[in-house]
Amino acid sequence: MLERISPAIAANRFGLGARPGELAQIGSQPRDWLVAQLSGAAPLLTGPELYTSADTLSRGLEVRRALRAAKREAAKADSDDKANAVAAVMKIGQVYRPIYIAEAIARLREGVTTDRPFVERLTYFWTNHFAVSIDKNLVLGLAGSFEREAIRPNVLGHFSDMLLAVERHPAMLLYLDNHLSVGPHSRAAGLLERRRGNQRRLGINENLARETLELHTVGVGGGYTQADVTTLAEVITGWSIGGEGGGRLARGIPGEFLFRPEVHEPGAKVVLGKRYADTGYEQGVAVLKDLAAKPATAHFIATKLIRHFVADDPPPRAVERVAKVFLSSHGHLPTVYRALVESREAWDQPLAKYKTTNDYILSTLRGLQLPADRGRASLAAFEVMGQRTYSPGSPAGWPDRSADWDGASALIKRIEWADAVGQRVGSRIDAKELAPQLLGDNLAGATRAAIARAASGAQAITLMLSAPEFMRR
């Protein structure tokens, strides 16, 4: 079969859906269009409404402190006053929710307007690979800044740098509970045990260590054991956040990463057969660096990339090729992406991937050039169609296979939403003219005919957005 290096594949599979005129702009060299997006610094989303994680967390700390104080007061009061006193304090969600909304809107706006949609898609890919989820309340105000601080600056850098930025980011530490994890033989544990007797045992929490191995680096088949999980958890005891905890613990810059030597489990440790001397914080950095360079990691990342950009069942040869490049480039991501773009398999089968809800909404808004500034109304579409921004629900992230997105109920919701969009723009946008500009050579004759025969401009838009080739990329 002849390779079909189609602009429509570049725009829809690698990008976020064509905007009018984009396919023409891509022209005859779709690979060049993609590779060109990889040079220069990755765009960092900024704006007056976007706060750093540290800012958000210090505001959160103040609120939590006030709430604790109110509860203490309330404990003394009688029961009526009790409820009032606590209710009077602003809840953490009230602080975090507007921050979350501002972040989600900024992200949406960037996705709809960017000229480097490939980089944006890669950003989503990594945010999903290193997933945090806002259904944990503490993460609600941090998911957006996590992406801006840990993912975006590294999306065109090295994997090992992104890994380190992620594992020490407060959002990840909070999401997977590491900020509270205490080495059982650490100074803090010893002190507390003497003071409180045997009341409360301090110890490790292995959540972040497990997901670092299983989801972030070598993958579930990557050859680690329960002992490796436990030991890695000990290695990263002390990776915490400034300002957290009461009394003397509340030191460091509020909301910034803080290594707390007093809770770090002392001693040399063996992870995946290699011994790491006790160098405090650096011990964890050393393990992460080694994990980033493992062949298993290269294979795991390559598999996920190929699944995302080629097919639900990744062709093994393409995986092998990309994994090799990952290793030989020492995880230099633009080099890896280039290998991906150059894979024949990525261009072989058009429309092999079913769009996620995020893909579907963004490609619609881009294609129709709809503004993403309708605030919460724009975000509601994500929720209705089952992919509320930053809420994958688990550290594994959103799934990336057709069967996870092509349910009957999910489909009818897309069509209903497409219909609402059609009603909104049908009088001013001509689907007949637009469809070839968005779908290029993916546009099927049946779709073209259906659009031409539509009873109204609105219905024509609905049909275009419901077409099989618009559901896929």
Partner: protein, 405 residues
């Protein structure tokens, strides 16, 4: 009410094989499979079985669980008594009532064949019914449904959610349904989209399924006067449970419903009689109560199975929570269930009885329970169970006698 120890567990199996089981099967067969309803609730995130079903009678329980330990029944905030050894978490009032009404069987120290500690692989094995994660792309429940004789074109199962979870994916015709907040489409547009999908088998069948499900749901909501009035505050599961009941209580609707519950991954600040997990369990308990209420008369023909991918560590971790473990508890509930029993071959919590020195040791295979439900409730044949539904499961002996005859 009694606990079954290992020997009893086997005895029940042998007895059932002898005769009682055959009678039950014939009786059910006469009424036809179409009246049996089954709801499978996946508890994603690894439910702490030792918190949901505390073995307060085990001498090691309180010491290992420390601040997470539940008090003995009869004390404030104490466990709800089951049989003198096991209790239920105090948030599970409805389940406790069901136990008393002999409509609940509690299983303990059970697990799927999966022995690692990844949520995602664990859930995959729980749903795919094989020994390995990602071994197949279909689910055991769907494969079981595929073996049943059903009217052509009729949906036998419904997933309450936008997409279909793995356990329900496969050859049998199933659908997914979730309430819509969008305006309905006009018939003309729908017809044109149906035409547009003529060349796309996947989208064509999905659209047809969606319209069929909407028709059923619409008819249910259309008869709004018949829907019982909700008592108290709606919980997080009210909507999904009402929808499930709406599908199941119709004679021409799907027979099997599946939905997910989440939030069981309690690594930190799990709580005991109160706290994080207590809140989740209370919401689940309220959801199950609503399900019974909404099913009305159909409850008598219903079995609800709640299962999770694996359990959690026996000892608390350093952050007042528990990490990923192995064996856990499961629940079988409903008017069709021969309940009021805890079925467990209790391995004990002493350090040498723990699995890998940290987890509750599995002494029963969850597939034994699932096979019992499928064979006696949905009348799936033994050969189908052993060959296509749960391949390589001959060691997982069917638990018999779980249903009223």
């Amino acid at each position: 009410m009694r606990t079954l120890k290992r020997r009893d567990f086997l005895q029940v199996g042998a007895l059932a094989l002898g005769g009682a089981f055959l009678t039950a099967r014939l009786a059910l067969a006469r009424t036809g499979t179409s009246r049996s309803r089954f709801v499978f609730i996946i508890m994603r995130g690894a439910l702490d079985g030792l918190a949901a079903v505390p073995p307060y009678g085990d001498p090691d329980y309180a010491g290992l669980r420390r601040e997470l330990a539940l008090k003995t029944p009869g004390t404030p905030g104490g466990a709800l008594p089951l049989n003198g050894f096991f209790g239920l978490h105090p948030s599970l009032g409805f389940l406790h009532d069901s136990y008393a009404a002999q409509e609940l069987v509690v299983f303990h120290a059970v697990s799927s064949p999966y022995r690692e500690r990844s949520h995602f692989d664990g859930q995959d094995v729980l749903e795919n019914g094989t020994l390995q994660p990602h071994a197949v792309q279909t689910g055991w429940l769907n494969r079981a449904l595929a073996s049943l004789q059903v009217e052509h074109g009729k949906e036998v199962g419904v997933a309450l959610g936008q997409n279909i979870p793995l356990v329900m994916r496969g050859p049998a015709s199933v659908t997914s349904w979730s309430p819509s907040k969008l305006a309905a489409l006009d018939d003309d547009t729908l017809e044109r989209i149906t035409d547009l999908y003529a060349g796309d088998p996947l989208l064509a069948s999905r659209l047809a399924d969606a319209l069929a499900a909407d028709a059923i749901a619409g008819a249910v909501n259309g008869a709004a006067g018949a829907a019982p009035v909700q008592r108290g505050k709606p919980t997080r599961y009210t909507e999904v449970v009402r929808a499930a009941a709406g599908f199941l209580r119709r004679d021409d609707g799907p027979q099997v419903a599946v939905f997910d519950t989440t939030g069981w991954d309690t690594h930190a600040n799990e709580g005991n009689a109160e706290g994080q997990l207590a809140g989740r369990l209370a919401a689940l308990d309220a959801g199950l109560r609503t399900l019974k209420d909404e099913l009305g008369g159909a409850w008598a023909d219903t079995a609800v199975l709640l299962a999770t991918e694996f359990g959690r560590t026996v000892a608390t971790n350093g952050t007042r929570g528990t990490d990923h473990g192995t064996a856990t508890a499961a629940f079988l509930l409903g008017g069709a269930v021969q309940g009021g029993r805890v079925i467990a071959d209790w391995p004990g919590l002493s350090s040498r009885s723990l699995y890998q020195g940290r987890d509750l040791k599995p002494t029963a295979d969850l597939r034994s329970v699932l096979k019992g439900v499928l064979s006696e409730h949905l009348l799936v044949s033994t050969s189908t169970l052993e060959s296509s539904v749960f391949p390589d499961s001959t060691n997982a002996r069917v638990v018999k006698g779980l249903f009223r005859s």
